[in-house]
């Protein structure tokens, strides 16, 4: 009993220092943003700049908050995708590509096949899963670093999806007048995720139950990771591949499964946005991958790869992004919000350092490793 208590205390301690480290990252990020605002236009920096970013969606209540919720849902999913792969010691920088494929799968089922929304969502997840599985297979069987493979497949996916949707302007999913894919409400209203009154509350057409689906997914991921044998195996592979193999865990299978599930989560996220009519795909944009995939890295890091934490970090990141969009463009570029989230990830890259310092300051007690902690940096040689 006392040992149990001790373990619980240890876990709590680690949790609290993780949260403090995250808050510290956020604080420094916001400070840098504030400094940037003051440099650009000192006169309006506080009231029309910083306060609007802090207020986020609440600056333009119900509408702004609705927008925050719409954007949070896919962000939670890409965050979960990155966090899930982190637990197995993999860095899923490919969330952007899996997200792209997910958007394609969902939109195809909606616009061409006119399937109901839940089938479209599953298709999104399936397409994302395939794109996630490829780097997993390369990693498991050829020992090629998943970061490199994912980056390559991000671009391959983007060009491929654009090619199929655009098809030289003749694609069946492409609306030449808007240079986007067709609006779901016009073409296939049955494929829209139901709003259940949310869109009336927030005065935005695109606020749907997607946010609840994302939260449910986060809880499901938490259960898988913390309460099942499968999750335990995944984490064991992440902590020490060789020890896991010695313990009879099939590390190849687990690597591939982990990347597949990560891909499915990212693809599902794309479905949540595009099937809520939160956006339409622009196949003429061949120069940048969806930012949602990279912001997912930010939210996962900020949450220290904790699935439940990812919900909150995603809400926060989309809160300040929406806040950034309310900046008066006369005085400030809206990219200040991107600057802040960029700084936050940069700081998160060495958040372990913060965590260590905070832990030392808070508790002088012993520091025991925890199976749920982030995997240590890999020291094994990898082919590329």
């Amino acid at each position: 009993m006392s040992r149990n208590k001790n373990n619980l205390g240890m876990a709590l301690r680690q949790k609290s220092s993780s949260v403090l480290a995250a808050l510290l990252c956020i604080l420094i990020g916001l400070l840098v943003g504030l400094v940037a605002l003051f440099i650009i236009n000192a006169e309006h920096a506080w009231d029309q700049g910083f306060l609007r970013i802090i207020q986020g969606g609440f600056y333009d209540f119900p509408y702004g908050v609705g927008k925050t919720l719409t954007n949070s849902a896919p962000l939670i999913m890409t965050g979960l995708s990155v966090a899930f792969a982190f637990k197995t010691g993999l860095f899923n920088i490919g969330a952007a590509g899996q997200y792209t494929l997910g958007a394609f799968g969902g939109l195809y089922c909606a616009l061409i096949l006119n399937l109901p929304w839940y089938v479209c969502l599953l298709a999104s997840a399936l397409f994302g899963a395939v794109w996630g599985a490829i780097p997993g297979i390369f990693k498991a069987y050829l020992n090629i670093n998943e970061v490199i493979t994912s980056i390559m497949f991000n671009w391959i996916g983007l060009y491929m999806v654009n090619e199929i949707i655009y098809a030289r302007g003749t694609g069946a999913m492409y609306d030449a007048n808007n240079t986007r894919t067709w609006k779901l409400a016009e073409r296939s209203p049955g494929s829209l995720i139901p709003s259940c009154g949310m869109s009336d509350i927030f005065h935005t057409p695109s606020t749907t139950i997607a946010i609840f689906l994302a939260i449910a997914a986060a809880i499901l991921v938490w259960v898988i990771l913390e309460k099942t044998t499968f999750g335990y195996e995944l984490k064991a592979v992440g902590l020490n591949k060789n020890a896991a193999r010695y313990a009879g865990i099939n590390e190849k299978k687990n690597i591939i499964l982990s990347m597949t599930i990560a891909g499915a989560l990212a693809g599902f996220g794309a479905g949540l946005l595009y099937l809520s009519a939160g956006a339409e795909w622009n196949p003429l944009n061949t120069t940048s991958l969806p930012a949602m995939g990279f912001n997912g890295i930010a939210t996962a890091l900020l949450a220290a790869s904790n699935p439940i934490g990812t919900i909150f970090s995603s809400l926060f990141i989309s809160h300040i992004t929406v806040g950034g969009s309310f900046l008066p463009t006369r005085y400030f570029p809206t990219e200040i919000a991107d600057l802040i989230s960029g700084i936050i990830i940069y700081l998160c890259a060495f958040a372990m350092l913060f965590r260590g310092v905070i832990e030392k300051k808070l508790h002088a007690g012993a520091n025991t490793p925890d199976a749920n902690a982030e995997p240590a940096a890999q020291t094994k040689k990898e082919g590329k």
């Binding site: 940037a36 650009i40 860095f91 920088i93 390369f138 050829l142 020992n143 090629i144 970061v147 490199i148 493979t149 980056i151 390559m152 497949f153 671009w155 391959i156 060009y159 491929m160 654009n162 090619e163 655009y166 030289r168 061949t286 120069t287 940048s288 991958l289 990279f294 890295i297 930010a298 890091l301 463009t329 570029p333 990219e335 200040i336 991107d338 600057l339 989230s341 960029g342 700084i343 990830i345 940069y346 998160c348 890259a349 060495f350 350092l353 940096a377 890999q378 020291t379 040689k381 990898e382 082919g383 590329k384």
Partner: protein
């Protein structure tokens, strides 16, 4: 045909410069995912310099100053990566990813601020950078790139510095035991990659157009350069070949619609996709005897065995 050669040379030199930068960084033991961001920042610095210098200055001055500014801004930006990954022992891929996101945000903010408007487009004149041989219009970066390639080769294989740099990427503990300062060598590696990446960013932006929208960044060229580096197996001359190989596809994508190739009915997306697929295939076949520096990606800890 002349157009194809022109585009291939222009784009190939860019890829080669940036990939050489990545090579220096990785041989010192630091994975440099931030090449894309370094290119953006270097390009921004160089373009701002060109836009601010009066047109009346001699071409030589404009070129020298803007290239130096580009190199310097790339180096300053790469210091962020060096500091995080060498001193703070941060995860290099995460740090690099963060820097890529930061670079685009910083570039857009600075460009908008420079314009004093909501547009991130910067106008400039690029006459100073172009010259003609016969009917072939080339940029100053082609000869500059070849000179830098030769210098890189000499530095990497014929100097004490190059040998020490490579030692730090292969076995930093052994290098340290014979009195090489691993931290210093890794800083130099990353800084050189910032220098070459910054120049590469400018070389990407300047020759082809007279206005650049920084919301586009450099459209994934930095990531392609990473692929070039792997394709070139971390060796300067191989990297040159790989860069030209990749550039041919990119040029095909540019001119596909205007030439006889359009009858194949392939769109630019397909040509754009090819280099990435080619590098995946090469990776799959060479993974067993990869020439990658052994210690790359691992923060150097003096105390570890």
């Amino acid at each position: 045909m002349l157009l194809l050669i022109k585009y291939t040379l222009l784009y190939g030199i860019v890829l080669m410069l940036v990939a050489l930068g990545g090579m220096f960084s990785e041989h010192s033991g630091i994975i440099n995912i931030a090449l894309e961001g370094i290119m953006v920042i270097g390009g921004l610095g160089g373009v701002l310099a060109v836009a601010m210098l009066p047109n009346t200055l001699p071409a030589f001055v404009i070129v020298t100053v803007s290239v130096l500014v580009a190199a310097l801004s790339g180096m300053v930006f790469s210091l962020l990566l060096a500091f995080a990954s060498i001193h703070l022992k941060a995860d290099q891929t995460i740090g690099g990813t963060a820097l890529n996101m930061l670079a685009t945000a910083i570039a857009i903010i600075l460009a908008k601020n420079f314009n004093g408007s909501t547009s991130a487009k910067i106008d400039y004149t690029n006459n100073a950078f172009l010259f003609k041989i016969g009917g072939l219009e080339l940029s100053i970066f082609v000869p500059l790139g070849i000179v830098l390639l030769i210098i890189s080769y000499i530095v990497m294989y014929k100097t004490r510095f190059g040998l020490r740099l490579r030692a730090c990427g292969e076995h930093p503990q052994a290098a340290d035991s014979v009195g090489i300062n691993v931290y210093k060598m890794r800083y130099s590696g990353v800084l050189i990659s910032g220098l070459l990446g910054g120049i590469g960013g400018l070389a990407y932006i300047i020759p082809s157009v007279q206005t650049w929208n920084f919301e586009v960044g450099v459209a994934g060229t930095g990531f392609l350069a990473l692929a070039v580096m792997i394709f070139g197996q971390w060796k300067p001359v191989h990297i040159f070949g790989a860069a030209m190989f990749f550039a041919v596809f990119k040029s095909l994508a540019n001119i596909a619609d205007a030439t006889i190739l359009s009858q194949l009915g392939w769109s630019s997306n397909i040509y754009n996709m090819m280099p990435f697929i080619a590098s995946m295939v090469i990776l799959a076949f060479t993974s067993k005897n990869s020439m990658a520096p052994k210690a790359e990606g691992i923060p150097y800890d003096k105390g570890s065995r």
